[in-house]
């Protein structure tokens, strides 16, 4: 079960968010200030942090926690929407969501962060594939066989899984997987996506796992 540490001084909002998150299957610890936060941080998978808090503000708490535990994703949740605040927040936090928000958006963003930080140990079902996110094992449900990916195909697929439901542009994919700036006209990425599709798609001519979003990029959607 995913454990979330939630720091929010506003009682009504805190109570509501906690309830919504529990309903969605998360385990939530809610604190009304940054006091005593350290004893929880090492035991959680994600931190939800408000900015305006009594005592130490959210930015200071967040920076301190990120220094000590860089592997725990931090999502800032604030009614402060100025560019300066967002810029300061994102200098250490992994996402910034402004109030008011829809609980669905909050949980969607939580999911993205959990996947990015590989906090999930569960299995994903994508079309006819069963993917265990921890070790990236891919099983074809139809045949029950494991699909073996080689080198770059593996990293490419892993990159898609970490950015599930997000549309990734050619540049983002190339730079994320190859670690080099994308040069316009380079066909390497296309070739690797074709190889990957040949391995994982039921019908590579009509791909359903890796969608092509025309003019933008590619997406793997659950």
């Amino acid at each position: 079960m995913v454990r979330i540490l939630y720091i929010e001084d506003e009682r009504e909002i805190g109570g509501w968010v906690k309830k919504e998150l529990i309903e969605r299957g998360y385990q939530v610890t809610w604190l009304q200030s940054g006091e005593g936060v350290d004893q929880y941080v090492s035991e959680v998978d994600l931190i939800l942090l408000d900015v305006m808090l009594p005592g130490l503000d959210g930015f200071s708490i967040g920076k301190r926690m990120k220094n000590k535990h860089p592997n725990v994703p931090i999502l800032m949740l604030s009614a402060r929407s100025a560019v300066e605040d967002k810029v300061e927040g994102l200098s250490f936090a992994d996402d910034y969501l402004t109030k008011p928000f829809h609980p669905d958006e909050l949980s969607a963003r939580i999911e993205v962060l959990l996947r990015r930080f590989q906090k999930h140990e569960d299995e994903l079902i994508i079309g006819h594939l069963k993917v265990s996110t921890k070790d990236m094992r891919i099983i074809n449900k139809n045949t029950g066989e494991e699909i073996q990916l080689t080198g770059k195909q593996y990293y490419l697929f892993q990159f898609f899984i970490r950015h599930l439901n997000q549309i990734l542009t050619k540049e983002q994919l190339y730079e994320g997987v190859w670690g080099q700036p994308y040069v316009e006209g380079d066909k390497t990425l296309m070739v690797h996506i074709r190889y990957l599709r040949e391995k994982i798609e039921e019908n590579p001519a009509k791909p359903t796992i890796i969608e092509t979003i025309r003019g933008i990029g590619y997406r793997v959607k659950v």
């Binding site: 509501w16 009614a79 300066e84 008011p100 549309i167 933008i216």
Partner: protein, 450 residues
């Protein structure tokens, strides 16, 4: 008084005085040398007057007037003046004795010839002294002749000997004065140029940099005044920044304070939806939720608008690959349009130059506002197209929908302020935009002129 001696004026006066002093010193020096040299000359060569006096004196005092005595007297003078010639005319007018006489002289001297001789020789060349022998005029006379050339003036002799020294000495003094003046002005020029450089250089705040004050003269005072000015500028800039910060804080806090209750309302409506509500009740709650979203957007826009109007919205322009940026922006909006059943057409081609000098946050805000407007006001068209367009004049991003077009009332619903923000931001980044709207849809072009 102390300051006066540190001033450039005082220094320049000093140089002038020094120059005058040098001229004086050289005059005195030359005079001194001259006196010394002429003193020596006097010793060597007697002055004509002295010679004349002496000739007369010795002629008077000859002990006896005999040929031997006179010969001896002539020999003595010949020794002292080797260039001299002498002769003796006796009481009867006969030329008795002569020594080294170059001209031809008559043996018998008549009164007329004597008078003519005296007249010819008076003030002429050679220098001639005629002296009677003994106490009386009856013993005849002796004549001494020395070519004038031997009595050259001491000045002339001096110039002949030391002319070069004086010439070079004068040249040296002039050169020295020119050099000192040159160095003096070169130093001033150097410092003025240095100050000019300090005035044109800028630090990271865009303010001039203070310069080091090394001397307390006029240039030093100028440097100090400049430094004071820089300090004042810095302080005023700091004050301005503090005010700006305060203003931003105020608006940010205001927006925070407005959003917090809004979040509570939102939470409550969301909880309400989970209750068993009648269809009317559900519809009412949904409308409530939409209104909350609108208010949220309005607060955001109002805040940006206020900051933009006061030119206090942070702008940090840098080279951004805009085609890539716009593609990533539509990628993040795609799911929203997809959910609303929009057909999304994207056709982004490379420009000749993809790098525009923009603030990515501003560009993002412009696109967000345009997309939000499409979502709100052009939902019925179910279509959005984002493409690039290049003409001879401009490169542009074109965002087109097939909604009912912009009518007056839609402006009142809040599209107005969103588009005002687009307008201010586009112009703030030196770009341009236009909007065309009909009942078949709205097209927005964000342009950069070539």
């Amino acid at each position: 008084m102390k300051n006066f001696f540190r001033s450039l004026q005082a220094k320049y006066m000093l140089i002038i005085l020094l120059a005058i002093g040098l001229v004086q010193i050289s005059f005195v020096g030359i005079a001194a040398i001259l006196t010394g040299v002429t003193g020596n000359l006097e010793e060597e060569r007697w002055h004509p007057n002295i010679i004349e006096e002496k000739w007369h004196e010795e002629a008077n005092q000859l002990p006896s007037i005999s040929a031997e005595e006179i010969k001896e007297h002539f020999a003595k003078w010949k020794q002292a003046f080797p260039e001299a010639s002498m002769f003796w005319v006796d009481e009867n007018g006969f030329l008795v004795e002569k020594m080294d006489v170059r001209e031809t002289l008559p043996i018998q001297w008549t009164a007329a010839f004597t008078a003519k001789f005296i007249k010819d020789r008076y003030g002429g060349d050679p220098f001639t002294v005629i002296a009677f022998l003994g106490e009386e005029e009856t013993n005849g006379f002796i004549v001494l002749e020395i070519p004038r050339v031997n009595f050259q003036s001491p000045m002339q002799t001096f110039y002949d000997r030391f002319g070069d020294v004086i010439l070079f000495g004068t040249l040296f003094v002039i050169l020295l004065f020119i050099t000192i003046s040159y160095l003096f002005f070169r130093n001033i020029r150097k410092r003025l140029l240095h100050l000019e450089q300090s005035m044109t250089a800028r630090d990271k705040d865009g303010l001039p940099i203070q310069t080091a004050v090394k001397k307390k003269d006029e240039v030093g005072q100028l440097e100090k005044a400049f430094n004071d000015m820089v300090l004042e500028l810095k302080e005023s800039k700091k004050r301005e920044q503090e005010e700006e910060q305060l203003r931003r804080e105020l608006i940010a806090n205001l927006s925070h304070d407005l959003r917090t209750p809004l979040t509570k309302i939102s939470a409550q409506t969301y909880s309400l939806l989970k209750e068993n509500l009648s269809p009317e009740g559900k519809q009412a709650v949904k409308t409530l939720q939409l209104s909350i979203r609108d208010i949220d957007r309005l607060i955001e826009n109002l805040m940006s608008y206020t900051l933009l109007m006061a030119s206090k919205y942070r702008l940090e322009r840098k080279e951004v690959d805009v085609v890539r940026y716009v593609r990533e922006s539509i990628a993040s909006w795609y799911p929203v349009f997809e959910k609303e059943g929009f057909k999304v057409e994207v056709d982004l081609q490379l420009f000749e130059n993809n790098h525009w000098l923009v603030d990515p946050a501003w560009l993002g805000r412009i696109l967000d506002n345009v997309y939000q407007n499409v979502l709100r006001h052009a939902k019925s068209g179910k279509f959005i197209q984002v493409k690039t367009e290049s003409t001879d004049q401009y490169d542009a991003f074109v965002i087109m929908d097939q909604g009912p077009g912009m009518k007056r009332e839609s402006k009142e619903k809040g599209a107005g302020i969103g588009l005002s923000i687009v307008d201010m931001m586009v112009k703030g980044m030196e770009l341009d935009w236009d909007i065309t709207s009909s009942e078949h849809g709205t097209t927005i072009r964000i342009k950069k002129y070539k």
